[in-house]
Symmetry: none
Subunit: 212 residues, 4 copies
DNA sequence: CATGAATGAGTATTCATTCAT
DNA sequence: AATGAATGAATACTCATTCAT
């Protein structure tokens, strides 16, 4: 039994090493330019072992993406707590951006988009994960704010996307087109502007309180 | 002179055929999977002729993208005319979407994004063209509406992106992840929703509430 | 261990087969006309295997040359023994010529010369090997003859080249320009003439007249 | 008639331009790497014109070589005059070397050697020109010196090659293997050494000892 | 069970030569 | 007579995947 466990743990260690090496290699030059042989070498396994774990390059790519996106929705979301609506919304925007920018997530996203003709289903899954799952979490916050009376009652399924769209426009979209994008220093002000715009639309009658 | 003209016309015909074939091939399986030999065959020229026109695959790709994006800003923009702000804004949204969806523009955009690691500069140019040039045109409309008193005075450079972001979120973003995206039937309602949200923020009577 | 040994032996067998096929192919039409694919085919390996062993055509060419020239200086050199100076010198000339004419060495030399613009360093190495190493061995013989009193004391570094130059002029130089050069039947007389001329310069009783 | 002359002169001008451009291009990277298209461009003619003048690359190469070697034997040779045998011989060595080193003759020679498998006949011709023609001229000088009593009577056909061989060994052979060979500063001393060795063999008082 | 050598189909690119104008 | 665009065969090199040990 112990032997089996040992083997499993070795196997999982290798699997993790492969995934890590693959992610790095994919990120450097995109899906096509990454070479299985080099991934294997970087992961300190033979190509045969690599293929034992992932039966094809596409499978490996998918695993890399799934691993990256799998973690996203398990993150704790900011509690509404006693903070103002503005503060809470800025908080969820920050969470969103943190997830989007850490670990080269943007680079992975670029690849998923680039590989749409080849792996359309994967792209759909990533999209669904992003919109359905992530936005779903954020909706809970919006709903809580509505319940608390900080937001006017409205269709939060739509409104979460309005907020998301504005944030993406200013922050994610540029990152998608820029190789080594760095989050700009005035990010807080940008977030603030996005949230203010959102509150102008959906904020309680409380129009007067808007904007810094 | 006659000879030269003849040659030029033949040359331009071939160049156009190559660009067309290249665009199609690129769109099918992405940049990497497209083969120069097949592009040449589809364009009814030899590979050598192809290379006389475009000295490398990357050059050809760039030419395809530039041709696609070159036309965009020369399109006439909707006149403000006597229409209401809401109508005018829906109009520019429609223009934006028409440009984005015709001729498989979304597919090209996907490739540009996918090739960011390889051709970062091209991506920057496309981004600049999209944001600077296109939004620049739309801003003129917003400024006209402000001048006319239909919109509250505000920073239109920012607000055009707010509108753009919301529209992208609902329409462009899904298309980016979907192989053969078809504009949904309820597109008009979606546009209407986006514009309404925008007007809530920047519409006239709301002048007092404008952020920064 | 057994596996590794097996693999090494297979690998070395293939490497040798590749080198042999490469040498033949290079000799047929020169460096440029030799095709990697055909070399691979002749060696009964795939092109990929060829490239695993030699990372480029140039590398392969260099390996062929180095293999050919590597053996040269490990050959035993004629012992001075009790033979006359004339006999000894004829002996080393014969060794020199045997090395130069066996295994199509002249053909390889032609290629090295032809590839000087492309591989200048390789040419330098071959030249150094020829002059420094080979002549170095022959010098030992001359020095022995000087010590024995059969040659007048003199600068053997220069004189070995005088002998070599004369021999080359009559035998190597024509071979360099002739596709399938065959050593002529009167080679012995030619060698004899060269050695006689050399001895006229450096032979014993003539000691007083040495130049410089 | 004048028109015809004009045409001929234009044609010859172009031919000369082509030959010049070809020589340069051949010298840069060797026969194979030179491209007909670039030669044509450098010569300011169309490829078709180039092919009107020289029906193939090989023909062009041959023409370049022939032009280069054609001039050699028409050069005036040093007169024996009243100079000493040593001076005269140094003089013809200098002539030989001047011919060999000017206009990148060594580079052309390298190519001829490298192309022996492809153009064996050309190599033969160049060899014959070098040995027969050039040495023939130099023999006249040797014969004159013999007649004058400065050299012992002997077979000058052989002895001219002995001198030539020694000179080649020290000066031409290294140049053959060195990309941008520069004649060393101590060339005069080297020549002097070669001539002295030659005179030791064939100089007057030594007449008795000449080998066969 | 792990290895890494081997594969063969595929890629972008080049070039001597021809031909319609 | 001159052009230069067009050709198509050829070339070095790569890579995802398999298989004998």
């Amino acid at each position: 039994m112990g032997l089996e466990d040992y083997r499993r743990s070795v196997s999982e260690t290798k699997r993790a090493a492969i995934l890590k090496a693959a992610r790095q290699n994919f990120l450097i030059g995109g899906y096509s330019k990454a070479a299985m042989a080099e991934i294997a070498r970087d992961a300190d396994v033979s190509t045969a072992t690599l293929y034992k774990h992932f039966s094809s390059k596409e499978t490996l790519f998918r695993a890399v993406i799934e691993e990256a996106y799998g973690g996203i929705d398990e993150r704790p979301i900011a509690d509404v707590g006693g903070a103002s609506a503005h503060e809470v919304l800025c908080g969820i925007c920050r969470i969103y951006l943190r997830q989007q920018f850490e670990d080269q997530m943007n680079g992975l996203l670029r690849m998923v988009i680039g590989e749409v003709p080849t792996s359309p289903q994967l792209a759909q899954e990533v999209f669904a994960r992003g919109v359905t799952v992530r936005y779903g979490q954020f909706r809970k916050v919006l709903d809580a704010l509505v319940a608390r009376g900080d937001l006017a009652p409205h269709d939060t399924e739509t409104s979460v996307r309005q907020l998301g769209g504005i944030v993406k426009e200013f922050i994610v979209w540029p990152a998608l087109f820029t190789k080594d994008y760095r989050i700009p220093d005035d990010i807080e002000e940008t977030i603030d502007g996005c949230v203010s715009a959102y509150l102008t639309i959906h904020g309680r009658p409380a129009a007067a309180r808007i904007a810094k």
